[in-house]
Each structure stands twice: as C-alpha cells, then as structure tokens.
C-alpha cells in the first residue's frame, strides 16, 4: 500500500459490510463516546461514513480518519444495538489495521506491542525493577480503593488514581504451576492477564483459591505474554500475532480442559480475535488457536456452568452492585453468571445499578490516549454506582476495576471495587 488509491482499494474490501449501515443513527443512544462528546464523528454511523468516504476517496486524509477511529472504546454497544446488524467492531478493527499499516505504527507503540508485551521476560523485568520504586513516586489517594497518584509522573499518568503495581507479580510468587489432575478430574489453564499478573494479584490469587476449593487442577506457565488486545486495538495485528505466538508456545505443552481467565478482555480476545487471525499462522499454530478458542471460558461462566456455583440468594448483608464489562456482556453474552458468583457469598446481596451495561469508559488504551473523555464517561458510571448505596461494586474485568477505582477515588467515595471471584473467595476457607 503505497498510494491513497491502494489504501482505498484495500478499504473497499469492507464495502459490503459498511453499506449495511442504514444511517438510522440509533447508535447515538448507546455509544459512551458520543454520550461524552455529542459529536457525530464519534458514533458508529459517523465512523462508518468516514471509512466509506476514505474507501471512495472523498476524503483523502487517512490520519484524520484514523484519529476519529481512535476515539472509540471498542465496547461493542453500537453493534449490540444496531438494527441492521452491521459487524461494526470487525469493521473498525480491520480499518484501524489497514490505515495504521498505511501510515505506519507509532514507534512507541511498536516498542510496547512488539517488544515489551511480546517478551514476558523483558516485561517482567521492567515490572520487577519498577515496583519497588513506586513508593518514591506515589501518594496515597482513595482509602477504600487502595489507589495512589503520582504527581511527579503527571506528564505521563495525568492525575490518575491507580492501584500500584504488586510488590511481587503472580508468577514471581507461584512460578510455573502444573498440578496433577485431582478427584473431580477437571484441569484448567489459568490465564491471569497482564493486570492479574502484575497489578491485581489479590484478584488472581482469589481465583486460584476458588479453583483449589473446587478441586480443579491448574496449569499456569510462567512465560505468558499479553493476550494482544492492546496491539490489535491500535491496529497492530503484527504485534498481536507476535504476542499470540509466545502464548501458544507457553500453552502448547499443557494438558487441560479449559483455559480460564478472570479478565473479560482476555477471554474475548482468546475466543474471538485469536481465531480471526489464525490464517496468518502455521497449520499447527492455527489448530492450537482453534482448540484454545473453543476451550476459553470466563471464570464466572466456568464457575457457574462447570462447577455449578449458585447465588446464595441472600436478601440482606452488604450491598454489592455489579458492572457489566463490555467484553463480558456484549461480546460473550455473559451477564447472569458473574452476578451469581458475586452473591454466591451469602454475606452479599445484589442491588442493580442503572445502566449496569453501559461502558465504564476504560477501553484499555483508550484511557491512555483520551483520558479526559475516559473520565467523563467514568463519572456517569460512578454516579450510577453511588446511587445504589452499595458498599462494593463488582466487575468481571480488571480493566474495568482499574477505571472504577480511579473514578470512585477521584470522587472520594467509600465504595470498594472487587472482582466477582474475590467476593466469592472471601467466604471460602
């Protein structure tokens, strides 16, 4: 792709999908980004029009179109509500990849996706060096959320309130795990995800505790890479494939029935995005990807469907409200299971918030590049959380948890943020 015509020709391959947009504009009702900016170019209808125009060369500024495409959380709310059923997220992902390939990936992103996230030993080293330094930089903020802010890193982190990195990452504590099958015979590969391994280790340990409680044997290699969703969201399919190959190598020797993750985004990526790029792999790798995709399960889904965890159905106790992560509900259709897991602990009772399935505004790397909008979208979620009067807000995705902690801490709220499995684990010995 050297010329605009080449780019247009490549984008025309999306034409059959883009044309399905009947321009009804109903995406405006559900799009979190549009809710925050009110701009047509931020909603699916506008973005599809711009992709169409770039394909037909009625706009000849790919950078401008890519910038608009970047103003999207990829939450899939529009696709879930689209009357003519346009595969909007597929189109956006592919368009990001095509236009990024034409313009070239930003060197910093290239370094992160293809080197840091694809090389577990390097990423782990960086984190190991970074974690002890944090206390020098961080100031405590949210009591309830355990967040900190870093005034000295303001140029990089803004005034984010975030969880500090774990003192010791999950794999540093446990090393590689490969337990023999136990009585009930189920064995899972546990994929903690980057956040589960390096930031939310309590959450990941709660998952291991729950699996142990249910006699499930665990396989967890120590050289897992990022699942690839950040690279893919930035249009870097090559970076994602590089990370995928590292994961395949780590997982290929395991003998397990399911691959379970506590991160909605990782699950959605393994289940839906890995197979989509399988044609760019060797036959052996492709078969492994298809096998892993079929075996991938969100941990809530696994606990309810395979281990028959049920809500205790208590109507008193501490109030928990549940936030539906986009990758869980809109991508995987999982909504009842995490609610059941959170309330499987009889100490908790569920109170629904308004707009429980409206995006929290994190969107992974969206939060890095559009923090102002991320906060604005998060504030609406925060208001809905606080209005329930709940002591705890639960989610099934650490990225959402990070966002919820930030917005609640920024508002000095006392609401704690927990993964659903953490709540369940609290009551287990």
């Amino acid at each position: 792709m050297n010329t605009l015509q080449d780019l247009a020709r490549r984008l025309m391959q999306l034409d059959d999908r883009v044309i399905g947009c009947m321009k009804c504009g109903l995406c405006q009702a559900v799009c979190p980004m549009f809710g925050a900016s009110g701009m047509e170019a931020d909603v699916a209808r506008g973005k599809l029009a711009l992709i169409d125009n770039l394909a037909h060369e009625t706009i000849r500024d790919p950078q401008a179109v890519l910038d608009k495409l970047g103003r999207c959380l990829l939450c899939g709310s529009c696709q879930a509500a689209c009357p003519p059923g346009v595969k909007i997220i597929d189109v956006f992902m592919e368009a990001r990849e095509v236009v990024t390939a034409f313009l070239g990936l930003h060197p910093v992103k290239k370094m992160i996706f293809r080197t840091l996230l694809a090389r577990p030993e390097l990423f782990n080293f960086a984190m190991r060096v970074g974690a002890p330094m944090q206390s020098l930089l961080f100031r405590k903020t949210g009591q309830a959320q355990g967040t900190v802010c870093a005034p000295m890193l303001n140029f990089m982190l803004g005034d984010r309130h975030m969880r500090p990195l774990a003192k010791k990452s999950l794999h540093a504590v446990y090393g590689a795990i490969n337990e023999p099958r136990r009585a009930n015979g189920i064995k899972v590969a546990f994929f903690p995800g980057c956040l589960g391994d390096k930031m939310y280790t309590d959450m990941a340990e709660a998952c291991l505790k729950v699996l142990r409680h249910h006699n499930v044997s665990v396989f967890m290699p120590d050289k897992l890479a990022c699942c690839g969703i950040p690279a893919l969201s930035s249009g870097d399919a090559d970076g994602m494939i590089k990370e995928l190959k590292v994961n395949l190598k780590a997982l290929e020797k395991g003998d397990f029935d399911y691959i379970v993750t506590p991160c909605a985004s990782c699950t959605a990526t393994i289940k839906e995005f890995w197979p989509r790029y399988a044609d760019r792999l060797t036959v052996k790798e492709k078969n492994l990807v298809l096998d892993l995709s079929a075996k991938a399960m969100d941990i809530n889904d696994f606990l309810v469907k395979k281990l028959e965890v049920r809500s205790a159905g208590n109507t008193s106790g501490a109030v928990v409200t549940y936030h539906d992560s986009c990758h869980l509900k809109k991508s995987l259709g999982i909504a009842a299971e995490p609610r059941a897991v959170a309330t499987a602990n009889p100490e908790y009772t569920l109170k629904e918030m308004a707009e429980a399935d409206r995006c929290c505004g994190c969107g992974g790397s969206f939060n890095l590049f559009h923090y102002d909008f991320s906060r604005k979208i998060g504030q609406r979620k925060r208001n809905n959380v606080v209005a329930t009067g709940a002591q705890v807000v639960a989610a099934g995705c650490p990225a959402c948890m990070m966002q919820l902690e930030d917005v609640l801490s920024q508002n000095n709220d006392s609401v704690k943020v927990k993964h659903t499995v953490e709540l369940y684990a609290e009551n287990l010995r």
Partner: protein, 461 residues
C-alpha cells in the same frame, strides 16, 4: 468556504469545542437517515444556550449564510441534509435541558435538543405520560419531532406530536425571538405560530424552546395478536374495531413477507402461513380495558381472524411485540439498502393499498416488506435493495413514484410521518395544488427574505 474570520468569531462565541470545521467532522454532518446524496456543510456549530442559538442565527443571517438545523439526524426525508456546500449546520444537541415538568398543570417545558425518550422517561417518573413515540425516539430530539410533526405507534388513540405542542419559542431567519402559545390549555393570543412551526421542517424558524402537553398515564393495558388468511379480512377487522367505537392505543399490521422474515430471524414461532397479523393493544381504566378487549376479540373473530392470541403474562406480551419491534431491523438485514416509505391512506383503503404494493413489487421485480400502523392507515412499505446497483435502484425510484400515485388516488397522502424534505418535494403539487406551493413559497420569502433556512426543503423558496 466559510472564511477563517467567521470560524474564529464562532469559536469566540461558542468555544472551540463547539465549532467543528475539520473536513472529517464536516463530512459526518452531510447525511441523515434518508437514502439521498450527502452534501458536506461548510461549518458545524453547536450553541449550548438558547441565547447563543439566537446569536448564531443572527450572525449567519447578517453574513447571508444558509443554515440547516440538526438534532439527531434521524430524518427520513433529507430534512437535515445541508442544502449547499456553503451551508452551516446548527446542532441542537447542546440544548438538552428539561426546564420544567408541571404535574399540576400537566405540561413540560424543554429545550429543542432534549431526546424524546429522555423526556418520556422523566415525565413517567412523575407518573405522567408523553405519548408520541416515533421509531427513532431513543435518539430523536423534541425540536426535530416538532419540526417534522413526528408520529409513532400510538397515533390512532393519542395523536401525534402536533397534538402535544402547547407553545413554541423560535428564532426567525434574522435571529429575532418569536413566542407563541402558553402554559395554559386555552390561548388565543395572536396567530397560532406554534402550529405554523410544527411540521415546518426547519424552513420558517429555529425552535429554541417548547411547551408540551402531558397526560395522565393509562392504568392498564391489554395486548393481543390476530392472524388472518386474507389481508382484506384484516383490514375489515380494523374498520370493525373502530366501528365498534373502540380506539386501541396501538393497532399494528405485518404482511406475510415481514412475518416470514421476522420468524426466520427470531424463531419465535410466528404464523408463517398467515397473510397478515394484527397486533393490538387497548389501554385505560382496568374495567374499560377488559370490556374493550372482549369487544375487540369478538370483532376480530367475526371478521374472520383464524386465531386470536392473548398473552398470559408480561413475558408473553414482550414476545408478541418483539415481532413488531423486529420488523424493520430484520427487513434491513436482507439487503444492503433499505428504503422506508410512509405513504398513508384512509384505513378503509389498506387492502387496496396492499394489493397495489404487491403489484408494484411484481411489476418492478423488487422485494418489499410491509408493516405499519394499520389503525391510522400509515403503512411502511420497505424496499429492500442495493443502491450500488444503479439499474435496480432506478427501478426502486420508479416503483416509489408509482406508489405515491396509488396513495394519492386512494385519497391518501405522500407522507404520514417522515416529512417531505427533499425526498418528496417534487410530489407536493400533485397532492395539493399549484396555489398551495405558491402560497407556501410566498410565506417563506416574506419570513426569510434571504432564503437561508433549509432552502431546498418542502416547497423550496
């Protein structure tokens, strides 16, 4: 092109965040929901107070710049597509305040950018009811609803937007504020300019505030579905229900093509052999609802309904309405382009209209699915096509011409609720008269001497 100086002026007036001048942004305001050619505006501005709205209009008038007002851009007749490339689009989605909901006097005062469903939800919280429910209510704005006189499913019993407009404030083409109507049920102060602005499609003034009538909500509802093996019988049943002095709040119709398509998609077990189904809901006081439902059921059977289903609980009721709710989405998935028409006939003419639609589909070798508001004769023949196929799309245009001819012959109208815009402007004279066109144009010229307000829409200027 708009001059840099003008852009700067607007940025000073509204703030940089509310002036969109980049090519990519402007391109996204070049279309609406109608299947028409986009026109990219010169600039897009978003006032966030009504004072700013007035200042924008004044500035554009002074500079002789054409303007098109846009809410959610869900218009189905091209009313929010810019007239020319030097048009400035004025967005109302920065004006979203519900200023007052009055439970004692049953009205609400709103800014033009309030989303229809947001108003309906806000008044429902106070146990009040705003009935107009256009299909796009999740995004459509009150300003747009008034400018288009939007309808919906409840038209038969509750009327349409115009029946709820008690008063309107608007800016005329020069930026002067004009006020008409009041918070009172009765008001004969001056011309009924609020009535004139309703359905004016952005050609007479720019709405800055509206007073809307609210009603008490019905205490009970009852829904049912009737199957027919003949469209004629379904239409007779509709007339029979009205003749029995029952006015259901909704009385919807799906033709066989739509039934089969919806059932293919939802697998909800719809009667695939039925020539038509009617979906009916009566509402009101519980006693009245029970009586009316019994009469409706009797009339349906007398008119040859092959089956009448009454949902036992909320879940069954939701499933029943799903068939109607899914009609357009399902039809829209069949082919790349969906052209949704709304030619409307007196309800007694529905069988003749349906027969004509089927003949037109056969004659032009097109697929048309038809559903709609049988109670008020407002059908939605939906053309399933691909606009990239020039030859086929030409046939669609010819078929639509013929469809309008039939509607007018049956003493119906071009448009029940989607508006004229540019899509149907050429047909206006055929339905009305030369005098109507001239009168409307003279009216426009008198009020908008520079011809700046949505110039190409309706009758032109």
């Amino acid at each position: 092109m708009t001059s840099q100086a003008l852009i700067k002026d607007f940025e000073e007036m509204l703030g940089k965040d509310n002036v969109f001048s980049s090519e990519a942004d402007r391109q996204t305001y070049s279309y609406d929901s109608a299947v028409l050619t986009p026109v990219v505006p010169a600039l897009v501005v978003r006032p966030i107070t009504t004072e700013q709205l007035g200042l924008c209009v004044k500035k554009l008038y002074e500079n002789g710049i054409p303007m098109t007002v846009r809410g959610a851009g869900s218009n189905l007749s091209g009313g929010t597509i810019p007239d020319k490339t030097d048009t400035v689009v004025i967005l109302t989605n920065g004006l979203t305040k519900i200023l007052e909901i009055n439970s004692n006097d049953l009205y609400a005062v709103v800014e033009p950018g309030v989303v229809t469903v947001d108003l309906a939800t806000a008044v429902a919280r106070l146990n009040l009811f705003y009935p107009p429910d256009p299909g796009s209510q999740a995004v459509s704005t009150i300003g747009g609803n008034i400018a288009e006189n939007a309808g919906g499913l409840r038209g038969l019993k509750y009327g349409v937007t115009k029946d709820y407009v008690m008063g309107v404030e608007f800016f005329d083409a020069t930026g002067e504020i004009v006020k008409s109507g009041s918070r009172t049920v009765k008001c004969v102060t001056g011309y009924n300019l609020a009535g004139m602005l309703t359905q004016s499609e952005g050609t007479l003034g720019i709405i800055s505030q509206a007073i809307l009538k609210l009603v008490p909500p019905p205490a009970a509802q009852k829904a049912m579905m009737a199957e027919f093996d003949d469209i004629q019988k379904a239409a007779e049943a509709v007339s029979g229900i009205i003749a029995a002095h029952i006015v259901p709040c909704t009385l919807e119709f799906l033709d066989n093509n739509t039934i089969v398509r919806v059932d293919d998609f939802t697998k909800s077990g719809l009667p695939r052999d039925a020539a038509a189904i009617l979906l009916i809901e009566v509402d009101g006081h519980p006693g009245q609802v029970a009586d009316e439902a019994a009469v409706v059921e009797k009339v349906l059977k007398e008119n040859g309904a092959t089956a009448v289903h009454i949902p036992k609980d909320e879940q069954e009721k939701t499933k029943l309405w799903e068939a109607r709710r899914m009609a357009l989405p399902v039809l829209a998935r069949c082919r790349p382009t969906t052209v949704l028409e709304d030619a409307t006939v007196p309800r007694s003419q529905i069988p003749a209209m349906m027969k004509a639609i089927n003949e037109i589909a056969a004659k032009y070798k097109l697929e048309i699915g038809t559903f709609g508001h049988a109670g008020d004769g407002n059908l939605h023949p939906t053309f399933l096509t691909d606009k990239r196929d020039k030859e086929e799309f030409h046939r669609v245009e010819e078929a639509i011409d013929e469809l309008f001819d039939v509607a007018l012959k049956l003493q119906g109208t071009l448009s029940g609720e989607h508006g004229i815009g540019t899509a149907k402007a050429k047909w206006m004279e055929k339905e009305t008269s030369r005098g109507t066109i001239l009168f409307s144009q003279r009216l426009r010229r008198a009020l908008d001497p520079k011809g700046l307000l949505n110039a190409s829409k309706l009758v032109g200027i």
